[in-house]
């Protein structure tokens, strides 16, 4: 399960990640994008965003 890594210098990683530069955010998204792109592409039908959100929220504690 992904968790915030423990800090070794007393800095909360979650707070440190709040002030990252746009370039760092873009690199993080690229990392996520590359990982996701390895998954098999599916030819799924488009659905309204509100329907997609409801589907994503199924089973999630809100």
């Amino acid at each position: 399960m992904p968790t915030s890594r423990p800090s070794t210098d007393g800095v909360d990683p979650a707070r440190a990640a709040a002030n990252v530069s746009p370039r760092v955010i873009a690199l993080a998204l690229r990392k996520l994008g590359l990982a996701v792109a390895r998954l098999e592409a599916v030819d799924a039908a488009a659905v309204p965003a509100r329907v997609a959100l409801a589907s994503l929220m199924k089973g999630a504690a809100q």
């Binding site: 992904p2 915030s4 890594r5 998204l29 990982a35 309204p48 089973g59």
Partner: protein, 132 residues
């Protein structure tokens, strides 16, 4: 082109200081908007609309096609071709440079949920990185 965006919830303390999650959300929204401000032909290469949901923090509908192109801070009636839920702590892990993203574990735990055409997200990320 229209851009609609309002800030996600601030920290509950009532102070002026945004929460770390809020700051992360603002950083993401800024990148999304910047990506869509590129030439329409480049944005059109994404070939799809996206929904990105960070539970408890923010929801965005990103429209890359048609007259409604823009970033909206809610789930709209616009059709989307890819939808993703990404937990804020997974964003933290990415932002602080965790060496590897354990994608199977993130999917199995529900920290990451994906629906639709993953290639749409890949092309959108390319658009973002070309704008930074």
């Amino acid at each position: 082109m229209s851009f609609e965006f309002s800030a996600p919830p601030r920290s509950s303390g009532g102070g002026a200081e945004p929460s770390p999650a809020h700051k992360r959300a603002l950083g993401l929204a800024e990148l999304f908007q910047r990506a869509l401000q590129q030439a329409p032909a480049r944005v059109g290469r994404v070939k799809g609309n996206l929904l990105i949901f960070v539970p408890g923090v923010a929801t965005w509908t990103i429209v890359t096609q048609g007259p409604g192109r823009g970033v909206y801070d809610s789930a709209t009636d616009e059709d989307v071709h890819f939808a993703m839920s990404c937990a804020d702590d997974l964003l933290v892990q990415l932002f602080v440079g965790a060496t590897d993203l354990d994608l199977p574990a993130a999917l199995a735990s529900g920290h990451l949920k994906l629906e639709g055409d993953v290639m749409v997200f890949g092309r959108f990320v390319e658009l973002i990185t070309s704008a930074t």
